[in-house]
Amino acid sequence: MKKQFLTAVAMSALTIGTLLGTSGSAFAAHMPKLAQSTTPLEVVPSPNGNFQDNFNPFSANANYGTLGFIYEPLFYFDNVSGKTFDLLGTNYSWSNGNKTVTVTLRNTNWSDGKPFTSADVVFTFNMLKKYPAADTTGQWQQLASVKAAGPHKVVFTFKTTNVPFASYTLNIPIVPQHQWASLGDPSKATMTSPIGTGPYTLGSFSAQDYKYVANDKYWGGVPPIKTLDFPAYSGNNAGDMALASGKVDWAGMFLPNIQGIFVNKDAQHNHYYYPPGNVVMLYTNLKDPILSQLPVRQAMSLAIDRNKLANEGEYGYTKPASALGLILPNNQAWVDPALKSKVNLSYNPAQAMKVLEKAGYKKNSQGIFAKNGKPLSFSLQVVAGWTDWDTDAGLIQQELKAVGINVNVEQEAFSAYNNNLSGTKKSYQLAISWTNTGPSPYFLFQNMLWSKGNYNVEQLSNKTVDNALVSFSQTTNPGQQKQDLYKVENYMLNQVPSIPLFYGPVWYEYRTMNYTGFPTAANPWINPSPYTNYANAIVVMHLHPAH
């Protein structure tokens, strides 16, 4: 029951968003030619308890690695590096006023030896059309048609121009027609004998452990490791202890005091780094008459000591977020040059009080700022049991209290919290929550700030922002895209539609006792966590035995 925030990261990864700014990019995974090692790689993507025998790529609850080790999409768009990796596609290009994308397919086979062709791609998409329950990313709300143009070419035509959306489309896992044609509704199937194109196949399954074995005919070469072993651990001490005692090679777990518990146990081999994965926001309900006032939001932003949140609530595993809503350094290339000096948010309680006084607020007898008899007093919703955010909420409460803003922390069950924030009728004042991201900042902004965004928790509806985001989606020109996002960054900075707190970390620990070649802080070329779909397989293909 610890650190459930991890779940949030995994959840936002479900709606993985990616961008196609530049077309036809190719970052082919580099495949080392080394002898295969038989020592299993022990992987714990997340300590969530027992497994169920389900490797269905269209099930949100498929076992870790289903997407990546077994099934592959056409392309993988990385949200940490912003890079594009060619998987089943080798090239794509836009045409027809950015409504059509043509993909060239790789010439490869399914793990049962049958050839992979454009018919499989067309089948996969038509299956989603037939069974909308499995079409969780809403492909057929945007797609007009998916057609084969020869055995290794597929043409996707969209109803309207929406360039970034194609990243969802090209990210759909492709399944073999010869197995799935008879399965019926893919959302209801529990796939226990998966056939994919990926570097691994399912070896064995039990509730407490499953194994992937190398697919030696993988198009990317012989996988460097024969067996990947996934043991089940509970979220409590069991997973931490396994990692600390050197039983795990690659993990995506939260551990308190990781330096002492894990790294110091074997400093030569035990490593971690937590790249920023999303921005954790203090959302302000803009439909609230008081929170809709800019000075109130500005004052709150000034009164929060983000370093303290990052160091105490988040155990020092993350850094304060940027003022622009960007994830830095991931999104460094997207920073508006004119705003370079304003990226960092400052902690200035005195200034916070000045802002409120200037806006006509005066402290009442309890020391709380008030105007027209209405004190600044808000409820702050967090999820009960997500202990880091619960701690952060307590710290924010203390800090805001210090400048004269009263906050009542309300811990809610996740379902209630989620309903309050993302339901159609939003009932909250302040809330700590995540952002949904992609390989460019567009996805975060589009989800959070677009008036019809999926995670427009603060309920912003602003023409400038909407227009900029729509403009971005019409073009494949990187220069134009940047100009569009600069407008949104300026809006974030000056209007504070929601208050950035700190980055949500991507959990990633690795042990180089048996294998090396893991992504490092010095070379963050991909999202390194084993729970990241598709990136997981690319990382494994880059590993090699330590000796």
Partner: protein, 329 residues
Amino acid sequence: MRYFLNKLGFLLLTIWAALTLNFALPRLMPGNPALNMLAKFQGKMPPQALKAFELQFGFSNQPWPIQYINYLGSMLTGHFGFSYTYYPVHVSTIIAQSLPWTLGLLGISYLVSVVLGTVLGIFIAWRRGGVTDSITPIVSMTFQAIPQFWLAVVFVYFLAFSNNIFPMSHSYGNTEVPGLNWPFIRSVVYHGFLPFLVVFLTSVSGWIIGMRNNMMMTLGEDYVVFAEAKGVSPRRLIFNYAARNAILPQVTSMAIALTTIIGGQILIEQVFSYQGIGFQLTNAVTSEDYPLIQGMFLIVAVFGVVINFLVDILYGRLDPRIRRRGATS
């Protein structure tokens, strides 16, 4: 026969009560968790599945008696619904997978603590007033007063994590192939030892003290005193005269103590990542997987009730007076 029917009636009644509790709780709680829960899975789950949930939890606009009947119907036909966390896996599949592990671990630790505890109780009653008599109850009571999860965590830390004597988690080694082969069985025993030890240490006290007290009471009965006066040897007195009768109340305690042990094992499984019902239940709670929570609770309750029923029947066989008296005890 009447006794049997009485007990069977009670068995069904209790299962009905557990079912009704599952039905009533979500409706009694503030904030309607069921609606929140449906909201949580909107988009992630096909409409048919949501419909199934609605049916299962009865959150339709139908009046509640009809909801209730529908609910009972689906439960009785084994339709516990889908798990949220593992959708589209059925709750019943998860139960079937976890139950054997819980039954195995629970059964063994339970039987061993009953038998060993009873024997120890007889022994210290025999040596009453001696050193073992004054120390054993206190030591065992201290263990009973320790929170089981805490003892489990301490054991894991000292015996598994720091010293590597026992495995830290799981019910068997990940390299073993489940089946009737020696390495697998050995691995299961090895992995089960620490969880067993915790259940044993924290539950044996009741049996020791209970048996000792029963013995002391029986030793005061006229027929025993008479036998003693007649010159029956102390050993025979203890085992042939006193223990036989003193054991009867232990049997009744068996059923009741079971519910306590089941509760404790939930936490112990959690600490050891032992793939049983308790582990699933606590994980289901973490992920707010209500169908799974309900299913797990139901199976734990039914299990307890059935064992209780079996013990009652056994007791009826052992003590004919009970059978005649009917089911009022």
